[in-house]
């Protein structure tokens, strides 16, 4: 018989070993050597927190009482892991991309970051888990008492409560030490997870050892064992199909809805791919755990005295055969099962309580909102530590209040049913975008209430919380409201009854309320993020603390800050960490600093998102994206303004350049014009001067010569005058200073006047003019004097330049659309094609100037006049001789 104090010593030694394991795992992780710490095996073993003391001790008790039904507890998780592992993968992916810290956080985050939901789920989890923690304390206490009774000489732990208190305190200490080292709940607890993996191995080995002992040590091998099982009462237990289905469902849901399971499955997950390993390895683990349950139960029933607690067969069977070592191992297995559950549950619950209840309260109490900065970390850590202690205190109090009344298994199932109320909101949230916050609240409250009313409160026993009459007759004697016979459904198994009503009405409320409203924009965004998580994220980055991360950060920073500045920044940080010449560790302080530096260049939100993406501790959340979009919009606005300004500048520059070109061109034109004017003025002056000097000299000039020379002087003087007149006329026309004197007239009269003015009317000139008077009768209102001037000019040109032997000019009037056109066509050689373009330019006299006697301004003046009159003058090529067309809008012409 093993002395009790040795057992206590072994127990303490085991705890010390666990402490060391956790400590070294933490050390390794913080040194960046994650290695096997994040292997799929450790992940799978950590999932074994599912197997609590209830599974370790209780499964045997369950089998002893209800036969093979205990298998459902293993069947549910197996089915989910094998058949629904893609759903778990979705949960894990969401957990990573959204930085989910707990199941309450997941639900809250999914439904638009609603803290109401966070609080509801937290309360549900606390209420549902507290009995479960109490159960673990009870199992440890009971197992101690088993040894104590056997060792009657030793210290008698009559005060079971004291044992439970010590265990609770020890667990609280362990959890605080290893569960609150990091603030970010999403940073994994390597120490805790590793210790739990070790415990998983211990409990499996212990149970297998006891199993092997009962088969080959007590019974006579497998054959004998099979006979014994067939002969035992277990073989006669009834198979209840409803309970099987219900329990399998509950256990399946529990694998991801239990707070501690969510913690190890999603939050502590290091790599999504580990799930693939776990999907076969964990069912295998469960299979091994369940392998010897029935043999132990059968042997226990056969060898232990009647009335002994079947929940303790795992311990009492080896003890009764004086197998102290085996019994100690079994004790450690049970101890492991209990402690691992309590530790993880306490971490999970404390995260929820501090994040969704304590912190919001503290923040609103502080009423400082955005100004909280540095000391928040301390507050959060303290809140979490207090929450851990609080959770364990609650568990202990529950243990004290119930006094270990209920059987282990029933407490476990009540807990399962409670947390399963999260299921509709969870599954709906990740698969259905139409799910709304109101729906989730409604479903959760309905489910929570029904669970408490039909299962949780009645579990305390008649007369404790609920009066016996209420249980028997319903509230106020209303029969169909009886907690265990709701809506007149009687005779159903209480658990299945509670599960049926709570889950179905929960789901109904969830869907009905969701469908009756619309999700808010935030809910819609989050909903899309959750439902389509695989489209929004790549396989989540696995967590590393290594060099690659710092290198990536440096590369990114170089792109943003420039190589010199980025390298200087990293070198300073490395020096500050005492790592001169190496890359700095990506400590929170360094990351914060880096983010600030980058924010100066790309904006705070973008910087946060970039660093987060590289470090892999967070994915970009919706808010991050919104903030990035805001920043980008601002930058774009700014750059648009710049662009507009630069466009304006270049437009101005272009205008200036054009103006300059125009001025230069005008200047050249002015020079050319002055040069032309000078020439045109000097030429007649030359003749005038020369001949006047000749005349002044006198001498032997004949009378005829004198007359001739005088007339030359006269002629040139007239030429000068005409030139000056033309120049002035053109200048007035070009400057727009001319006042048009519009008056009614008739084309016939105008042409008559022009012909008369050129002296062609009486046929004294040698130009013959042919007109078609019938077409000329067009009334018009215009400056008739100016129009006549144009006609005179054209007739005079024909007189001067027509080089035909019998010069002839046709004047034809036509109506061309809205215009009246007057064509002047002579029978000369016309104007060469190359010159047709320039004849309307100033001084563009083509032929010998003496023949013309003009300065080459006539057509330029005509063009100006016609443009002022709203018409035009063009040269008509291909008419045989020189041909000009004067056109005038008819509408204007007729407007009288």
């Amino acid at each position: 018989m093993i002395p009790f104090d040795i057992l206590v010593a072994v127990c303490v030694a085991y705890v010390v070993v666990l402490f060391l394991v956790a400590f070294f795992a933490e050390r390794r992780a913080s040194a960046g050597k994650v290695g096997w710490l994040r292997s799929p095996l450790v992940y799978t073993l950590s999932l074994s927190v599912y197997c609590t003391a209830w599974t370790f001790y209780g499964a045997v008790g369950y089998a002893a009482r209800s036969g093979l039904e205990f298998l459902t507890i293993y069947l549910g998780p197996t089915l989910v892991l094998v058949g629904w592992w893609w759903m778990l993968r979705k949960l894990v992916r969401i957990g990573k991309t959204q930085r989910i810290t707990s199941i309450a956080d997941l639900i809250s985050s999914r439904y638009g970051k609603s803290n109401t939901l966070g609080v509801i789920v937290t309360l549900l989890a606390v209420v549902g888990t507290t009995p479960y923690i109490a159960l673990q304390l009870q199992s440890v206490t009971l197992s101690f008492s088993v040894f104590a009774q056997a060792d009657s000489e030793a210290w008698q732990p009559t005060d079971l409560n004291a044992t439970a208190l010590w265990v609770a305190a020890g667990l609280a200490l362990f959890t605080v030490l290893f569960g609150t080292r990091n603030l970010d709940a999403n940073e994994r607890h390597h120490g805790v997870v590793t210790a739990i993996a070790v415990e998983a191995v211990v409990k499996l080995v212990a149970l297998l050892a006891v199993g092997i002992f009962v088969i080959w040590g007590v019974a006579g091998g497998l054959g004998d064992m099979a006979d014994r099982i067939a002969a035992s009462p277990i073989a006669e237990t009834q198979f209840n199909g409803g309970r099987w289905v219900g329990l399998t469902f509950l256990a399946g849901a529990a694998i991801f809805t239990l707070p501690r399971m969510f913690q190890v499955l999603v939050v502590e997950n290091a790599d999504e791919r580990h799930l693939a390993t776990a999907s076969w390895a964990f069912p295998l683990y469960l299979c091994l755990m369940s392998l010897f349950v029935v043999p132990i139960a059968v042997i226990g029933l056969a060898t232990q005295p009647p009335g002994s607690n079947p929940d303790l067969f795992v311990l009492t069977v080896p003890l009764s055969f004086d197998r102290d070592g085996l019994a100690t191992l079994a004790f450690l297995g049970g101890f492991s099962s209990a402690t691992s559950m309590v530790i993880v549950a306490a971490i999970a619950l404390s995260t929820m309580v501090s994040n969704h209840i304590v912190m919001p309260l503290w923040l609103s109490w502080q009423n400082t909102g955005a100004t909280v900065s540095g000391d928040v970390r301390k507050v959060v850590l303290t809140a979490r530590r207090i929450s851990i202690a609080g959770v364990l205190v609650l568990g202990y109090l529950y243990f004290r209040l119930t006094g270990g009344s209920a059987a282990l298994a029933s407490i476990g199932l009540i807990s399962f049913t409670g947390v399963a109320q999260v299921l509709p909101a969870l599954i709906g949230g990740i698969f259905w975008r139409g799910a709304t916050k109101r729906g989730a609240v409604a479903g959760l409250l309905v489910g929570f209430f029904l669970w408490a009313y039909t299962l949780f409160l009645p579990s305390f026993g008649a007369g404790s919380v609920m009066s016996a009459s209420l249980l028997a007759d319903g509230p106020w004697g209303i029969g169909w409201l009886r907690p265990q016979g709701l809506f007149g459904v009687a005779g159903m198994d209480p658990l299945i009854h509670a599960m049926f009503w709570s889950m179905s009405l929960n789901s109904f409320a969830f869907f009905a309320v969701s469908l009756s409203g619309f999700p808010s924009p935030m809910e819609r965004l989050q909903g899309a993020q959750f439902v389509n998580v695989f489209e929004h994220s790549s396989a989540a980055q696995s967590w590393t603390h290594g060099m690659a991360e710092a290198e990536d950060l440096l590369m990114m920073s170089q792109r943003i800050l420039g190589p010199d500045k980025a390298q200087a920044l990293f070198q300073r940080a490395a020096a500050a960490q005492g790592k001169v010449g190496f890359l700095p560790d990506t400590t929170p302080a360094f990351l914060e600093r880096l983010e600030r530096e980058l924010a100066g260049s790309v904006g705070a939100a973008t910087s946060h998102a970039m660093v987060g993406q590289i470090v892999g501790r967070s994915s970009v959340s919706v808010e991050d994206l919104m903030a990035v979009a805001d920043e980008t919009a601002q930058m774009m606005e700014y750059s648009n303004q710049l662009e507009a300004k630069s466009e304006e500048l270049s437009r101005t520059a272009r205008q200036l350049r054009e103006a300059n070109e125009k001025l230069t061109e005008l200047s050249i034109q002015k020079d050319a014009f002055l040069s032309q004017i000078s020439h045109e003025l000097r030429t007649p002056m030359t003749s005038i001067r020369a001949f006047s000097e000749i005349l002044m000299d006198g001498g032997d000039l004949s009378e005829a010569d004198m007359t001739k020379y005088s007339s030359i002087i006269h002629e040139e003087a007239i030429r000068l005058t005409r030139l000056l007149d033309d120049l002035l006329d053109l200048s007035v026309l070009e400057n727009g200073q001319v006042t048009l004197n519009a008056q009614p007239g008739n084309l016939t009269d105008l042409i008559d006047r022009a012909v008369a003015a050129t002296g062609s009317l009486d046929g004294s000139g040698n130009l013959r003019i042919t007109r078609s008077r019938a077409t000329e009768d067009v009334a018009l209102v215009t400056d008739t004097d100016r129009l006549c001037q144009v006609f005179i000019n054209l007739i005079a040109n024909a007189q001067k330049y027509c080089d035909a032997d019998a010069p002839q000019l046709w004047i034809k009037v036509r109506q061309l659309g809205p215009n009246v056109a007057v064509d002047f066509i002579d029978n000369g050689n016309g104007i060469p094609k190359r010159s047709q373009d320039i004849i309307f330019e100033k001084f563009s006299r083509l032929s010998d100037r003496n023949a013309a006697g003009g300065a080459g301004l006539g057509l330029a003046i005509c063009r100006e006049i016609m443009s002022k009159l709203g018409g035009g003058i063009t040269y008509l090529p291909g008419q045989g001789g020189a041909a000009f067309q004067v056109s005038l809008p008819l509408a204007k012409a007729k407007a009288a």
Binding site: H679, R689, A690, E693, R849
Partner: protein, 122 residues
């Protein structure tokens, strides 16, 4: 010493005036008023002095001057250039092309006569 003058000018009244002035002093004046064929006329006639207007139909006086200075036999032919434009750049152009003298219109009759006399060293 020859007294043959070729006047290349297209303005009839000016031709008339210069012809009168020079003829009265005993010069033999021939005239030509087309730019294109002016250089052939120079080669053909071999005058002692050429009076050359700048603005001519067909070809400018500057081009004709270039031909005269470029042709070996006419390279040293005295040329008096006349222009009505009177701008500095015309004068510079004429000098750079090797005009013997340059006068702007209107000119004084005595100046023309004395310049022509000068050019042939009479």
């Amino acid at each position: 010493m020859g007294r043959d003058v070729l006047l290349i000018e297209d303005e009839p009244n000016i031709i008339e005036a210069i012809r009168f002035i020079l003829s009265r002093d005993g010069w033999h004046v021939q005239t030509h008023s087309d730019g294109k064929s002016a250089y052939e006329k120079v080669l053909d006639m071999r005058p002692d002095v050429v009076i050359l207007d700048v603005m001519l139909p067909g070809r400018s006086g500057f081009e004709i001057l270039r031909d005269i200075r470029g042709g070996g036999e006419t390279a040293a032919l005295p040329v008096l250039m006349l222009t009505a434009k009177g701008q500095t750049k015309d004068r510079e152009m004429a000098e750079s092309l090797g005009a013997s003298r340059f006068m702007t219109k209107p000119f004084s009759n005595t100046d023309v006569l004395s310049t022509v006399r000068d050019l042939v060293g009479a």
